[in-house]
Symmetry: C2
Subunit: 444 residues, 2 copies
């Protein structure tokens, strides 16, 4: 089958999918976002694991997106004309602005009901006079594990945690947006940006220093919530700057089908490492099978395993890494870290990106095998991508050719509409997503 | 009072002390090993904490040892003549060789009775024909925390732990010894060495690659079990190679009155860091007071505290380091590490030297606050001094001038006689020692 089907097929499938997705049906894009597998089903057999999830899974390995992007731009221009006309062309009217609001600080496992959709809000599509903020229309929002700790009540006097969300205000996170109005000299109307924005239709962004202009638009814009955004940079900086990787080394990645894990594994493979990933899910067995299959057959990992099927993680790692682990990319924490520590090789490195298994616990689990860092002379190093943004141009230079040559496979799990955002975020912690969890607020 | 009293005073006090030490009395050397405080007492008031310990505490800050060393050499030569005569001058007779034997693998808290003195052994004071081993007379033995894990039964297939001791065989550890016979071209009779030897009067050492010849003898030979041996190198490599220290940084050291801790703190002070140490003891309150006093008043730490008096270690560290900790030199593990993690500054470094609080536990305590390594971008790095021995010449070049200028204070806790070795080793884990725990097998 060709990677590039006729355009009418794309349009046809596009509308079918919009219809299906409103019923939480499933579809899959393979090879290209514009090539859709036809075996859509509610209850497929387990032997076709790619079609069993209840959100939209996109497997991208594409080279060309330009013409579709052009069409999207045209439609955006039309819509903007309408907005300006609606506001009378001169004085600015307020428009409706749906928002996802955090009700209160969250303890324990988060629930969808910890957030609510406020549909009654409005916003003026104009930056206030004299402000150097920008006014954006949000297109794609990113669901990331680090957002869970931001829901916790801050501990007075303890600056250990990153800035918490404000109850009663919209959730804040990375996203892709289009500039509708700008009081900042670096941004102008029509610019596409990615960075910190609100979980709402339109945002007035004052912290413009957290934003990056999107210059490369011949890739899907949603990539800037993942592969080309914060998770991509996290994988790049974490692997190359923290792990000090060498060709041939043995790399283990937990949460390997997630936004960051899938990329670290592929970067490691591109360098010539031996890569094994683990994945799991609290939700459905079929998701597990799909994840492990993805890791091995789409991302090209040497091996992958479902940690839920391993009663003894230490033994499992011993089996998969009989000679030990040189590099562990830590996304999980807790028992997995404990098992990994026992299997590290001399001078092993552990880059700590996050510990998703711990975020919903009031009291984090204890890690018992830290003495291994002495016996094996292991380095454990935490990092935050915010300190590596100076590497962003270098990262793009590194990754864009691989994307365009189809050497990096990227999986997105797409939730449609702002109203689906709370469920999408919670899904990260139940393990419902496969790949980067994106919320589409608007495509244009 | 002069630092250098007349020689007759030294001789007089020397014999008094030999008498006193046989009753487990206490003495203290200050400023110079040849200057003795006169306030010896079995039950001194707490206001004179330096004289309350039940082993021999030596505080050294001396510049000159030469004449005494010369006398020791002369006595050694006399004794060797006697040995040769006893063996008939030609054919080699066996001599008695007392040994400290490990009974069996140890679980839980070690006891003196886990070891026993075998007084019935003999040894020929001659290297077997054709062997490239060396035959040494052991002078000083080193008690070090890492020896406890070596008493554990090895876990089959798990190479996490360093090589265990052999039940039924003598304990093995660092020591200072004199070569009596050599089959190795690098060593000759009369050489002084330090390195891995047996807990016995004489040892046949085949692993000569672990040995270092002692070239600088104008310092007490016992220093090569500590300040100038493995603990000194541990402090040097751990601090300079792992901690990446910078002038003005805030350094915290646990087990700070121990062999390694006391040196790390002083190295940090010499670099211009702000240094706080913690100490504690399960044994006697008076030891705690002495330790804290030592840290502040002898080692020149900025502050010191008794962790036993702190119900909330996190709060204590917050009080002592309101701006957080840049460098933590980890000797303790467990709850202390957990509390430190919460108090690390951004980009802090934790050099993990050991975790003495965990060595006697069947199941190590859990460390819960590891997520801090992400929020604070902390590096935790374990190391073993055995990988830094190439730095030994550089280390001597660094440390010898400080010793000779009296800029480093060094505290030894000296146990007399091989038979006292088991108690001395156990004392490390009850916190009985103050400073480097040494066992004197023979002084010449």
């Amino acid at each position: 089958m060709s990677c590039y089907p006729p355009f009418f097929l794309y349009v046809l499938v596009h509308f079918v999918l919009i219809f299906l997705s409103s019923f939480s049906f499933t579809f899959l894009r393979t090879k290209s976002p514009y090539t859709h597998k036809s075996d859509l089903s509610l209850s497929p057999p387990l032997s076709t694991p790619f079609v069993t999830i209840n959100t939209n899974l996109h497997v991208h390995c594409s080279k060309q997106f330009h013409s579709v992007r052009e069409r999207e731009r045209e439609r955006e221009r039309e819509k903007l004309r309408f907005v300006v006309m609606a506001s009378g062309g001169g004085s600015v009217e307020e428009v409706s602005n749906k928002q996802v609001i955090l009700k209160d600080y969250v303890s324990g496992f988060p629930k969808e009901s910890d957030m609510y959709l406020n549909a009654s809000g409005t916003i003026k599509l104009k930056v206030p006079e004299g402000s150097n903020a920008i006014l954006v229309k949000n297109l794609y929002l990113s669901c990331d594990p680090y957002m869970r700790p931001r829901m916790k009540q801050p501990i007075p006097g303890n600056e250990t945690y990153i800035e918490p969300f404000k109850p009663g205000s919209p959730i804040v996170g990375n996203g892709v947006a289009k500039v509708l109005d700008s009081g900042h000299p670096d941004f102008k109307k029509g610019d596409l940006i990615w960075g910190m924005t609100g979980w709402e239709e339109y945002s007035l962004i004052t912290a413009t220093q957290t934003l990056y202009k999107i210059h490369h638009t011949d890739v899907p814009l949603s990539y800037y919530t993942g592969l080309l955004g914060m998770p991509g940079m996290t994988a790049y900086a974490g692997f190359y700057e923290i792990c000090s990787p060498k060709k041939g080394e043995r790399v283990f990645i937990s949460a390997a089908s997630g936004a960051v894990g899938q990329l670290v594994g592929q970067f490691a493979k591109l360098l010539g490492c031996y890569v094994i990933g683990s994945a799991g899910s609290k939700e459905k067995a079929s998701l597990l099978i799909m994840r492990v299959d993805l890791l091995k057959n789409k991302f090209g990992f040497n091996e992958a395993f479902n940690y839920k099927e391993e009663p003894d993680l230490h033994a499992a790692l011993k089996r998969y890494f009989p000679e030990g682990i040189d590099i562990y990319f830590e996304n999980v924490g807790g028992k997995m870290l404990d098992a990994v520590l026992l299997n590290m090789r001399a001078h092993g490195r552990i880059a700590v990106c996050g510990m998703i298994s711990q975020y919903n616990l009031e009291h984090p689990e204890g890690v018992h095998n830290l003495m291994t860092v002495v016996w094996k002379r292991v380095r454990i190093e935490g990092f935050m991508v915010s300190e590596y943004h100076h590497l962003f141009p270098k990262f793009l230079e590194f990754v864009l050719p691989y994307i365009k040559e189809g050497k990096i496979t990227y999986v997105e799990d797409v939730a449609e509409g702002l109203e689906s955002a709370p469920a999408a975020l919670i899904g990260l912690f139940t393990g419902r997503n496969v790949g980067k969890q994106v919320v589409v607020v608007a495509r244009e």
